[in-house]
Amino acid sequence: MSINSLAFLGFLLAAVVLYYLLPKQHRWVILFAASLVFYLTYGLRAGLYFLVTIVLTYGFGLWLDRLSKIRPAGQTREERQAEKQALKRKKRAVLTAILLLNFASLLLLKYSASWVVALDQVFHLSLPVPSFLLPLGISFYVFQTSAYLIDVSKGKAAAERNFLRYALFAAYFPQLVQGPINRYQDLAPQLFRGNDFDWANIQNGVWRMLYGILKKALIADALAPLVQSVYSGFYDYPGVVSFLGAALYCLQLYCDFSGGIDLVCGASELFGVHMMENFRQPYFSTSLADFWRRWHISLGEWMKDYLFYPLALSKSFQRFSKWCRKVLPPELAKRATPCVVTFIVFLAVGVWQGPGLSNLAYGMWNGFWMSLGLLWVPKAARLRERYALLRKDRLMQVFGILRTNLLVIVGRYFSRATSLMSALRMLKHTLVRPGFSAVSAEMLHGLGLTMPLLIQVGLACAVLLAVSLAQERGVRVSRWITERPWGVQFALMFLALLLAVFCVYANVGYTPIAYVYENI
């Protein structure tokens, strides 16, 4: 059941009605049942795989919790210390085992086929290509359950003892398709407490869902065929069209991903469950580091807490830091570890995006600029002291936004291309044959950039820009609307519903497209 379908809306409505009809202490059961039904609509096999993951992570969670609560009972201080160390080692072994199992299943199901094909191409081994079913949202729930297990092992969260409640946390249906990657400590209490009916939650939720539909249907899905034409046939057009295609892909991807997140966060809000925010106007970022704090926030936070910090402060990297201090100038030495680890983290982000060298190159592109940015900090501070022009905040802000978006657009050459070679050819084509003068209205029309599309996307983008600017100033738009007089609210709701019903759900010239991040 796709979340941008009429069936999902009906399903959601039924779940919301049943949720508030039940006594508070049993309301979580409806969320569990709805999640089960939702997942099973994607097939029994995927459901069975997911069940195995849930059983395993539930069991290991309890085991880790039990180990965390054991107190050393030795007679002397030395005995207690030895016991403590033994317990620590055992806990680490148990955690490593389940994390390996969790991530091995992800690697096997998501990447093995591509790796076998790549090996075959290089060594001509005629290996059989494995064909696995890719369960819905596997990357998201593997990351979410892994974070839970790490937090339990560190004593930051207590393990859930009720199996069905744990299953609800892992499989809560609004987060299943494309995240966000929620933390147990934030999500679980909201799922289990049985939330009171609150009209404000319903209003905010409905507005947010409508905004998500607007982004997805009127912008992302409208641009998708055009972007596809550019990426698949860039040689037929001047190089500047490739750049335009990559820039439009940035817009498409943002509206697709964040639109989907708005839809599921709005749906979750109908039950009074507030999930983690995943976007904060990323294209207003003034640096690439700023962009990654605003884009796919839940993945960024996961990477920071469970990969970046543990790796950067590991014994190996502490030794590496010491070595750097001996051989490098002090300014460079102190930045060496964060730079190298940042690069590694972005390689992981690239791999997370999918198999293939182009995704790895996407990670390297981001890792390279992020690391360089860190090395540039002291130099930039000295330049600011010397040149007054660099101290003009507004000017530097505009320059920063333009520079960041340029880096992001070039990065999207890699993340959207079908192969690394294709991305490099497209980039070369952009630089070597820009052909500004060869671009004509007929050519753009032939690509699908027609006047009706321009008007539709232009109007929707005007709404997007107005909402984004308001959000950047800290205004919560859905709340702002609900504080208007009833007449204004009614008119806005009527317009939005008209748009949703006639442009989207009535299928008038619109075919919903699967979410880009649905198969990640």
């Binding site: 704090r293 402060l313 830091s321 964060p338 940042t342």
Partner: protein
């Protein structure tokens, strides 16, 4: 404490460590800065601050960082 201020200002020249008390909450320090600062602290004071110590309350102000350093020095 002066040694700490010098170390912090060396790592992040744009941050006013003497005035700010919400370095993490106001996003004045990024994860990259924190790792750099911890690396320097571990080296300068010969202590061991691990990933488990990276809580906002330990890094929101220079004073909080100093308390963490002293705590680790006493433990060692």
């Amino acid at each position: 404490m002066d040694e700490l201020y010098e170390l912090l200002e060396d790592c992040c020249p744009d941050v006013d460590f003497r005035a700010e008390t919400h370095l993490i909450d106001d996003e004045l320090l990024e994860s990259l800065d924190i790792v750099m600062i911890v690396g320097e602290l571990n080296d300068r004071f010969d202590i061991s601050i691990s990933a488990d110590d990276l809580l906002p309350e330990h890094f929101n102000s220079a004073e909080a960082i100093w308390n963490l350093v002293q705590q680790r020095m006493n433990e060692d």
